[in-house]
């Protein structure tokens, strides 16, 4: 494409983005601080626009210069947000997650792959005590929200509206088929965090730590049942009505990085965790294909412990259960 064509295309895009009642030459003239005549000359490609002028127009009308000028950068575009006290609250973080899950659900075929460094995020929402603890931990210790600075942890502080959002997210997640690649260390950090709060006197008493370990045991029992059955079901459902398919892999070699790959009817989306907590997403084809291949390789290297391989499954769940039990024993309750 030659430069005249680029210029023509630019003004075509601007025309499409200009409201019908507005005059495009006037708007361009105003933005570039030139006369309407000069704007016309540029629109008719009688005068080449400069790089500065291109920048002013593109940023005003939100036009991708890389696409317009056909610049190949080998780059990958990610989108994401960062939780903070002022512009992106935890409610918004959960609401964003809910919208994303609802979007996945709208497809006929959908599957979610999770490379676990920690327990998958959604599983924190199974039992209210764990959801409350993680919320408090993230805001106080990880994000250092000033309003949490001097607070001690209390289960009752967890707002109902957040737990409702958790349940909505979990409800949608349960509908999806999922494959999770676990490592024996994937539960270590949550245990470490409970210990840390105990040492730092953030709990009112050891009773709180005990309650959390019991909640973890409850979560762990549920995950084991899901793994044995090969499908997800609502926690506490006596009928264990089957929801999405559940495949759990035990990887003894690599600890994952909490990256998530979602495969829908016609595309793949990759979610990368960075600085532990925030997510960013891309649909870049080469990137998502590469992640897909990497996950496939990791699954081949792992043992499928859902539905089949009872012995390995029992061993995996037993090791973690013993770790929780050991911590419980050490409490002064």
């Amino acid at each position: 494409m030659d430069i005249n064509e680029i210029q023509q295309q630019l003004f075509q895009i601007i025309k499409n983005k200009t409201l019908p009642e507005a005059s495009m030459p006037d708007e361009v003239a105003k933005l570039l601080n030139i006369s309407s005549d000069s704007a016309y000359r540029r629109m008719r490609c009688e005068k080449q626009i400069t790089f500065e002028e291109l920048y002013v127009l593109a940023s005003h009308f939100k036009i991708s210069l890389d696409q317009l000028m056909n610049i190949s950068t080998n780059g990958i575009l990610f989108q994401g947000n960062y939780v903070n006290e002022k512009t992106y609250s935890f409610d918004q973080y959960l609401t964003g997650m809910l919208q994303t899950m609802a979007y996945f659900s709208s497809f006929k075929n959908k599957e979610i792959y999770y490379s676990c460094k920690d327990m998958p995020l959604f599983n924190h929402f199974l039992v209210r005590e764990i959801a409350a603890f993680k919320w408090f931990f993230w805001l106080k210790t990880y994000l250092k929200f000033p309003t949490f600075a001097k607070r001690k942890f209390k289960f009752s502080d967890y707002p109902d509206n957040l737990f409702q959002l958790d349940q909505q997210v979990l409800g949608l997640y349960n509908q999806l088929a999922s494959r999770e690649i676990w490592n024996i260390e994937s539960m270590s950090i949550v245990l470490r965090q409970i210990e840390f709060y105990r040492d730092a006197d953030v709990f009112e008493s050891d009773e709180d730590a005990l309650k959390l370990y019991e909640a973890l045991e409850k979560t762990w029992d549920h995950l084991e049942k899901q793994a044995a059955l090969g499908y997800k079901f609502k926690i506490g459902d006596p009928e264990q009505k089957p929801l999405g398919e559940y495949k759990m892999y035990f990887n003894e070699v690599l600890l994952g990085d909490n990256s998530i790959l979602v495969i829908t009817d016609n595309m793949k989306m990759a979610f990368m965790t960075h600085t532990t907590f925030n997510f960013m997403m891309t649909r870049d084809v080469a990137f998502t294909e590469n992640m897909y291949n990497h996950m496939q390789t990791q699954m081949k290297r792992s043992t499928l412990i859902s539905d089949v391989s009872e012995k390995e499954r029992s061993r995996f769940f037993r090791i973690i259960r013993e770790r929780i039990h050991k911590r419980k024993e050490a409490l002064e309750v």
């Binding site: 080449q48 939100k62 190949s72 575009l77 989108q79 210790t141 532990t276 990137f287």
Partner: protein, 331 residues
Amino acid sequence: MADYQSQEFLFQRIKELLPLHVSLVDTVANIIHVSSDSAYRRIRGETPLVLDEARELCTHFKLSLDQILNVQGGATMFQNVRINTKNYNYEKYLTGLIKHVEYAASFIQKEIIYLTKDMAVFHNFYYRPLTAFRYFFWMKSIIQDPGFVDKEFEFSILSEDAEKLSRELVMAYNKVPSVEICNTECINSTISQIEFYKDSGLFTSSKDIRTVYESLEETILHLKNEVEYGAKFMPGENPESKKSNFLFFYNRIILGDNTVMVVTDRVKTAFINYDVLDYMSTQDESFCNPCYDDLHKMMKKSTLISQTGEKQRNIFFGILLNKIKERKKHL
């Protein structure tokens, strides 16, 4: 942005990409086919760039205008480095890492902040047996090089080139001031990989397994020594002669994700590690600034054990060394 500021941004970014000995004026003149004088006028903002010239420059340097000028808000552009493609091998990967570190070293002010999940990649390369094992594991299990499919581990598998580059990488890293935020899970992956290869019969003798564990042990002891001095040096070098350029934090609360932030005079660059060896980088301020703040929050929550905190340092390294000792007992 007023006047020719976006033009200035573009040239600034190009300047950052050029090695120090290469002239910006000559390079620009060459790419857009103008005289040095004309190039100079454009760089100084006296002559406006036209679209053709901007496009030539961006295409040549593979620069994203959207990223440089932040045209589309809310999105971050990353440059991707992936090792397991056909025309990109391990040696090139190491060379790329060396270039990144040397580039950072060329600035007056520089710092590397490393939030580790595993031990920082540089520490794998002090001693040959561990370097050889890591190389073998990555080639066989991660890159899945066809030449490694039926191979068993032997120390001679590490090529001279790969060994030389690995050492060059550590030496380059040692010159740049750095901060590492680490927890005691950082050697678990290495240990489980040794165990996995042991169980899978990929070692030819138990002597080899012991040698790899001993090498890991030596590595941890060397790292402990570096942390104690707050300086980075190669085994055998005199730590007294090294600058104090190493801060090491013991983090008990989260396991990092191998995020690396390189801060130089002008810019912050975030490197995000994925799929074990691959990484991608960005200089987008809307991404790098919050990421930088998060890393500082992590430091505040962690215990500084370099040059200070002897008791905590002994606890930290004691835990790591015990993990290795336990495994050695079972050989």
